[in-house]
Amino acid sequence: MIPSPTDVSALLGTLFGSEVDATDALMSASPWALALFETPELGLVAAAAADVVLVATMGAAIAGYPVDTVETALEKGKVGGELWDNFAEVLNVMNGLFMDDGDHTRVVLHSVQRVEPGQWETLVGHDLPMSALRVAVPGYPAGQLALVDLGDRSLAELGLERRKTAPAPSEPTPAVSDTRWRPHDFRQPTGVSRGLLRSLHVHLGEVARTMASTLAGRLQAKVHQKVLQIRHVGRDELVAGVGNDVLVTSFRVDGMEGRFLLAWKLDLAMCLLDMLLGGTGVPCGPARRPTALDLSLLEPAVRQVLGVVPSVLQPFVPERDLTLGDSRIDLELTLPADAATDTWLATYLSADLAGTEHQAVLAIPMLALQPILERIVNGDKQRQLELEEGPQAFGHAVLGVPGDVHVHFPTVHVPAERIAGLATGDVLVLEGMLGAPLHLRCGQVHVANVEPVVHGTRLCVRVRDDADFGRVDPSALPTRQLVHSA
């Protein structure tokens, strides 16, 4: 059982002696502290995770320390000592949130600890019921709290046992490269530097503002939107941050890879729905799951807002034609199983609509963002290199960088029943003619027309006379954008 925001507000308000505001939010910050609650008879029942701001805030608020204490601790990055002890006491008192009045089950605090690397991701990777809250104590900075229903699982089942010794490295340490340039995969969690995130913050701020002005035009009302935070997240972290009670719009941007996500809380959906129907944006009654009729009303407005994304990103990828592809609104976040290894750039947004602040998250697959990141990184690198070594230096440097080329074969649309029934010896007729050229591409760039040939036991392609080869600008190839200072 996950306590409601009202219950959390009431308990913390009583403890701190002030009006505490706990509202549904998106978990936009990494949890810093993790508390586990258990029933002595049954095992773990719940977890509570707080970001470092909330740890400091709650640690100060319970003892009535001035806000300076919090600010100093956060500035110095030292949230320990009494603040930590006090925070632990707050968590100790929060056990009451997880007790069910009906069965009188005793719930006690099992442990409070700093979140170890990967621990939170492991926990939320079990797809457990969870809620994320923004907790504001008057006079202190607001922080974030996640509450997770662990469903009587053990520490071992949840992968939360403390490591007594450092884990053996699963992969050998890569040798230090002696080359100045190397391909860089921005999908890896370490791929986005803080400097790059700062650059992205500016561009995504433009996305947020343009989305707001588009919506304002449709609603004929004031709408403001700003970027709260940008984070590079994996699948589990994305799912955990989105939490429950959300609508998720997933959409494609034709010309870019992967599916984009825009997750927004139900209260924002209700507000938007009310305004679309001519109301003030203050819906009657609590947020509820939208009906099919609600969704049909929301969808055109949402699609209009989503149209902003390709138009704002277009200048970064002039070689492609970006347009809004298919989109759909789901009542919960579902990611395909093959997205497990994907990562996203999650942009946490604060939208002021009808005088009320709402939160949303725009998640862009890193695969889609890669050309934009590369352009930003390499633009800086190119300027630096050409300044130091001359105008041709960058061009010469990238010529040695490998890039993947692939051959695009003809395809054919086949009913699922036919696909499922394929047997040895069956023949599929592709939508292409024998002898027609195949297209050799590097990324999205057409390199040459080719034809298949056999060389010994190897399948090869031979460049045809009608090839465009030789007219391709090396600097236009994705290889140019894959280089990064080693």
């Binding site: 403890l15 002890d85 006090n86 006491e89 008192v93 009451g96």
Partner: protein
């Protein structure tokens, strides 16, 4: 009134002391102890009329503290302020001689109402 607050959390001892004062109890003299053994020492030195104790504390629990003080013939009023709320715990506390059982978090009104029945309340 001499009051001994026993809790391993400094913040919680501060809260209990603050709420006691806000509840309007007259002539309060408050002493704190962070553990059961510290509390036993404080009882010998301070002779409190009222002890407000946490239940879960490292080393010696609040219940064990109550039992130890009862064995020594503690004449004052002993009660729990704790996160424990189960019927079994309340029953065990009453059986050991606890006069009241307040669940954290609590309000000033709750503290005043509960204590009004067992100690004198000021103006």
């Amino acid at each position: 009134m001499r009051v001994l607050i026993v809790d391993d959390s400094k913040a919680m001892r501060m809260i209990v002391a603050r709420e006691l004062r806000q509840a309007g109890f007259a002539d309060l003299v408050i002493t704190e102890a962070a553990s059961g053994p510290e509390a036993i020492d404080a009882v010998g030195e301070f002779s409190p009329e009222l002890i407000l104790s946490d239940w879960n504390m490292p080393g010696m629990s609040g219940l064990e503290l109550l039992q130890a003080l009862s064995a020594k013939g503690f004449p004052g009023v002993f009660g729990f302020i704790t996160t424990e709320a189960s019927a079994e715990m309340r029953s065990a506390a009453e059986g050991a001689g606890s006069r009241f059982f307040i669940t954290k978090p609590f309000t000033t009104d709750v503290l005043r109402d509960v204590l009004a029945g067992v100690v004198a309340v000021g103006s």
